[in-house]
């Protein structure tokens, strides 16, 4: 773990790395995401587990999170490597949420990015189909952002509809 940490530190600038148990958290600038993901993939972290996003409304930022882990190199042996989960974080401005796709590195990123586009309103450049995934209705504010009040929306939208007698 320490070795990996030093490795990353030496090849990337402006990274902040913290380690707890099996989890390594890497904070990186938004331009470094593609390079660090391909770097991690090349050293064996081939499994993209999750792309998530946290709405940091106080800092007026959106935090995009990539979680990668490793598949086994040898079919029947476990190594220290597979136990690690690496969380890569980056922040983008909340009012101009443009970002680049990582589909060239991990093919299964596609639905995750579509989901984030729909639920957080993040636009991923280079993504081939940013079509609606889950939602049928169109919401003014993307529903997973913190300033979307679901209870208020329910009250305004659904409760006005009259019952049919």
């Amino acid at each position: 773990m320490e070795e990996l940490k030093n490795n990353i530190k030496s090849s990337f600038d402006k990274v902040k790395i913290t380690i707890t148990d099996n989890i390594m958290i890497i904070n990186i600038d938004k331009n470094g995401i593609v390079t660090i993901l391909s770097f991690l993939k090349n050293i064996g972290y081939k499994h993209l587990a999750l792309i998530s996003c946290v709405d940091l409304i106080k800092d007026n930022k959106l935090e995009i999170i990539y979680i990668v882990s490793a598949y086994m190199d040898n079919d029947h042996e476990f190594k220290e490597k597979e136990k690690r989960n690496i969380i890569i974080k980056t922040r983008i401005p909340r009012d101009k949420p443009n970002f680049m796709t990582v589909m060239d590195i991990f093919e299964n990123a596609e639905p995750y990015e579509r989901e984030l586009h729909e639920l957080f309103g993040i636009y991923f450049q280079g993504h081939p189909r940013l079509t609606p995934l889950f939602l049928e209705l169109e919401y003014e504010v993307p529903p997973f952002r913190k300033d979307f009040d679901t209870r208020k929306f329910v009250k305004d939208f659904y409760e006005d509809i009259p019952a049919v007698e």
């Binding site: 099996n22 989890i23 958290i25 081939k46 499994h47 993209l48 587990a49 999750l50 998530s52 946290v54 709405d55 999170i65 979680i67 598949y71 086994m72 079919d75 029947h76 476990f78 597979e82 136990k83 989960n85 969380i87 991990f106 093919e107 299964n108 596609e110 639905p111 995750y112 609606p132 995934l133 889950f134 939602l135 049928e136 529903p143 997973f144 979307f148 679901t150 209870r151």
Partner: protein, 366 residues
């Protein structure tokens, strides 16, 4: 030949769960498949942000209706990790037994769905009957058939009732006694072999590229099982092994599931033997109405019956989660792998491939 657009689902007998695939077919061959989820989207993760840590339990188990138990487990694990709670030893064992029972029930449900897809009603009905026997156990233990809310942060809700271990053993024996019947009619049936061999093949490279987990990965020969890699509950305290197959097609996936089911049953016997006979089953947690969890974030994962289940959870020090995101195994299976694997297959095999990958719609939509 004319190209037809065929809507496979949401209203379709061959669709388990509310999911839809738009197929472009030419004759019997699929040219293009377009998965169309969202029929079950409720915005769980948003709703959880408006509820306290304990109030979320009724919600989380409803994320996956086929197997709510592992979702309860993963959420509890996440909360425990954030709050730094240790689970007592007996609680760990009970969790393991309970999750393995859930795994067997879930696999039997999968067997029902799969056999139904092939038009194999007889085996399907048997599997559903046997699943009900396990649900009866759950009902006695937790009071509910489907949504149990049994696992909670710090352990489990209550101890086993008296003589419950024997009941588990008896039920599993009576199901296990039918394994030769299942083998003879289904798993060793030549027609099943013909239908499933070479269908929906997922090679090792593709599996790695598209993020396959669980039995789909194990069917390509890799012993990828979170229970072994990153043991949780009591999985590191008993002997068991991971079963793999080598071909990566629907046939090997189904056989991997069968082996896993049998292994689970043996594991439950082992766990019951090694379980501490007395002791606490849950650690004390603060008053749920005023429970504030220190700020931080955690990523936990476990092996559900469909594969790697993960939870990314963030707390801002308040009484509600700031953000939760479930990494569900069906997500990649249903939206990436299914779309790619279906191309070139026959429409007769859509259900076959979908169920052999164990795509469960509520888990995708959340």
């Amino acid at each position: 030949m004319r190209e037809l657009e065929l809507y496979f689902g949401p209203q379709h007998l061959g669709m388990v769960g509310n999911f839809s695939i738009t197929l472009n077919v030419e004759g019997d061959r699929i040219k293009k498949a377009d998965a169309n989820p969202g029929y079950l989207h409720r915005g769980f993760e948003k709703l959880m942000e408006c509820r306290t840590w304990m109030q979320n339990f009724p919600l989380v188990c409803r994320i996956n209706v086929v197997e709510p138990d592992h979702i309860e487990l993963i959420y509890s694990m996440g909360v425990e990790k954030l709050a730094g709670i240790e689970v007592p030893e007996r609680g760990k064992f009970i969790r393991s037994i309970y999750c393995e029972l859930a795994r067997v029930a879930s696999h039997l449900f999968g067997l029902w769905a799969y056999a139904n897809m092939l038009g194999f009603d007889t085996v399907a009905q048997w599997a559903m009957y046997h699943r009900d026997l396990i649900l009866d156990l759950f009902e006695e233990l937790t009071g509910a058939r489907v949504y149990h809310i049994y696992i909670r942060p710090g352990g489990v809700r209550r101890d086993f009732p008296q003589g419950f271990e024997d009941k588990i053993i008896n039920t599993l024996h009576s199901i296990g006694g039918k394994v030769p019947d299942y083998n003879a009619t289904f798993f060793e049936n030549r027609l099943f072999e013909k239908r499933a061999k070479g269908v929906g093949t997922l090679t090792r490279e593709n599996a790695v590229k598209w993020g396959a987990v669980g039995h789909a990965m194990r069917a390509t020969g890799m012993e990828y099982d979170i229970r072994k890699i990153e043991p949780y509950a009591a999985y590191d305290q008993v002997e068991w092994k991971v079963h793999t197959r080598n071909d990566g097609d629907a046939y090997s996936r189904l056989l991997a599931i069968r082996d896993e089911m049998i292994e689970s049953v043996h594991m439950i016997f082992n766990l019951i033997d090694n379980m501490p006979k007395k002791g606490k089953v849950f650690a004390k947690t603060p008053n749920p109405f005023q429970w504030k969890i220190p700020a931080g974030e955690a990523y936990v994962r476990c092996e559900s019956s469909r594969g790697e289940l993960g939870l990314y959870i963030v707390s801002d020090g308040g009484d509600k989660p700031y953000r939760v995101h479930f990494r569900t195994p069906s997500y990649s299976h249903g939206l990436t792998i299914l779309e790619k694997v279906l191309v070139g297959e026959s429409i007769a095999d859509v259900g076959n491939i979908m169920i052999s990958l164990y795509v469960v719609a509520p888990e995708i939509d959340r």
